[in-house]
């Protein structure tokens, strides 16, 4: 099996397995992408007290529900990793499927929320607050979709006992998506 792999996956000058090193690099750049976006939101929010009126219309309980869903999906993702470490691919695939279910639930709740808001006239062009709201939550939702798709592929392999180390890699990515939401939730729903 090893001979079919690209050389880079077998060498590690850093002592960190190549796949994991790559995921961390992705996340390091994501830190700047999401951090920059949220930082810019925060400074505008402080400079524009009138945003409080627009922000008052976000629905806290929907945001809270989605926060709980993502926290739970992070828990199942780490359980998948735990199973993979023990070499139990079927168990890992099962927990990954629970995580995908969490991603789906998150997206369904989000669609419902956005449908409601857009039909009330709170669109991305309504004002700068709503622009940020849809950009930040939208970029995050794209990451949820991407994560769910990759998890599907990893779960497919894991179920057959292949590439079990990838369970950890997609898990690290998924926890990052959770961490981004942990900051989006207070910004858009709590401290408004």
């Amino acid at each position: 099996m090893a001979h079919a792999k690209p050389l880079a996956t077998l060498r590690s000058a850093t002592g960190i397995p190549t796949g994991r090193l790559a995921v961390w690099w992705v996340l390091a750049s994501e830190v700047v992408i999401f951090g920059g976006l949220l930082g810019v939101y925060l400074m505008h929010r402080i400079g524009h007290p009138e945003w409080a009126d627009a922000a008052a219309h976000t629905q806290t309980w929907i945001g809270a529900l989605n926060t709980f869903v993502l926290l739970t999906s992070s828990f199942t993702a780490v359980l998948a990793h735990q199973a993979a470490e023990k070499g139990n691919g079927k168990e890992a695939a099962k927990f990954l499927c629970f995580t995908i279910l969490g991603a789906m639930t998150f997206l369904v709740v989000k669609s419902f929320e956005w449908y409601n808001e857009i039909s009330h006239g709170y669109t991305i062009t309504a004002n700068t607050f709503w622009s940020f709201y849809y950009t930040a939550a939208g970029l995050h939702a794209l990451h949820v979709i991407a994560g769910a798709i990759i998890m599907g592929v990893v779960a497919f392999d894991a179920f057959r006992g292949r590439e079990l180390h990838r369970v950890e890699l997609i898990g690290i990515y998924w926890h990052f998506v959770d961490v981004v939401w942990i900051f989006l939730f207070p910004l858009l729903y709590i401290a408004k």
Binding site: T14, W24, L27, V40, H48, A64, L71, F75, H81
Partner: protein
């Protein structure tokens, strides 16, 4: 595949013993959920006590604690090589530098020899527009019903029973129309009612005291509202058709 190079803990009681990482994942999860519940309750407590800093601490303080728990225990960063911690820290520092560099220009709207006219105008508009926006929200609420719209908007002058005896109507000259009066309907049809709702009575030669409300409703909603107004007409007096 798995890298078991760091056996920091030798005991294994069945709790998340991954590559030497001894973590009780369920315990971490429970702590995360409890912190989450506190952050949701924060604004309620902040509002009750009138202390806004409670909301800010429960929102952002808890977010930092939660994020740290996830990063250290679920992403296993605390067992990761220091190199990776430095890479991530560098990203974080660069991000903060960028934000700190931009923030004086965004958070202030004026400084030495400069003034952000557009931003000031936006704040001004927002603060002035508050009252206007409130009316909009009340007048065109979630789930339009002709009854609801009539009672919130029209009834102030025309009365809840449509008889022209609304609280704000008494002072008006000419008085508000009485929709229960057969004589009122003698020369009016639905189209005229809709025009008056949308463009004001002045548009059909009536009093300018009946203001235009077209901006609040869609054509469909105006039509429903007109039907509702017509429903006040006494038997036999209601205009037929459009």
């Amino acid at each position: 595949m798995s890298e078991n190079n760091e056996h920091e803990h030798s005991n294994d009681d069945g709790h998340g013993h991954d590559g030497g990482h001894h973590v009780n994942y369920f315990k971490i999860y429970v702590v995360l959920v409890v912190l989450f519940l506190i952050s949701v309750a924060g604004p309620e407590v902040g509002e009750m006590t009138g202390l806004r800093w409670i909301t800010l601490i429960t929102a952002f303080g808890i977010a930092v604690v939660k994020a740290n728990l996830v990063i250290q225990n679920f992403m296993h960063l605390r067992w990761e090589k220091n190199l990776m911690k430095w890479v991530l820290a560098t990203s974080l520092i660069l991000m903060f530098l960028m934000v700190a560099g931009i923030s004086p220009d965004v958070m202030n709207h004026e400084g030495n020899n400069w003034e952000n006219v557009a931003a000031k105008a936006a704040v001004e508009r927002g603060v002035d527009g508050e009252a206007e926006e409130e009316t909009m929200v009340v007048a065109a609420p979630v789930g339009f019903t002709p009854q609801g719209a009539f009672q919130t908007v029209c009834a102030t002058c025309h009365g809840t029973a449509g008889d022209g005896n609304g609280p704000a109507g008494a002072a008006l000259d000419p008085p508000p129309a009485n929709f229960t009066d057969a004589a009122f309907w003698a020369d009016r049809d639905k189209q005229r009612i809709m025009t008056v709702i949308q463009d004001g009575a002045a548009a059909v030669g009536g009093s300018s005291l009946m203001a235009p409300f077209g901006a609040l409703y869609t054509d469909e909603q105006v039509s429903e509202l007109a039907d509702y107004v017509i429903s006040f007409a006494p038997d036999g007096a209601a205009p037929g058709g459009e």
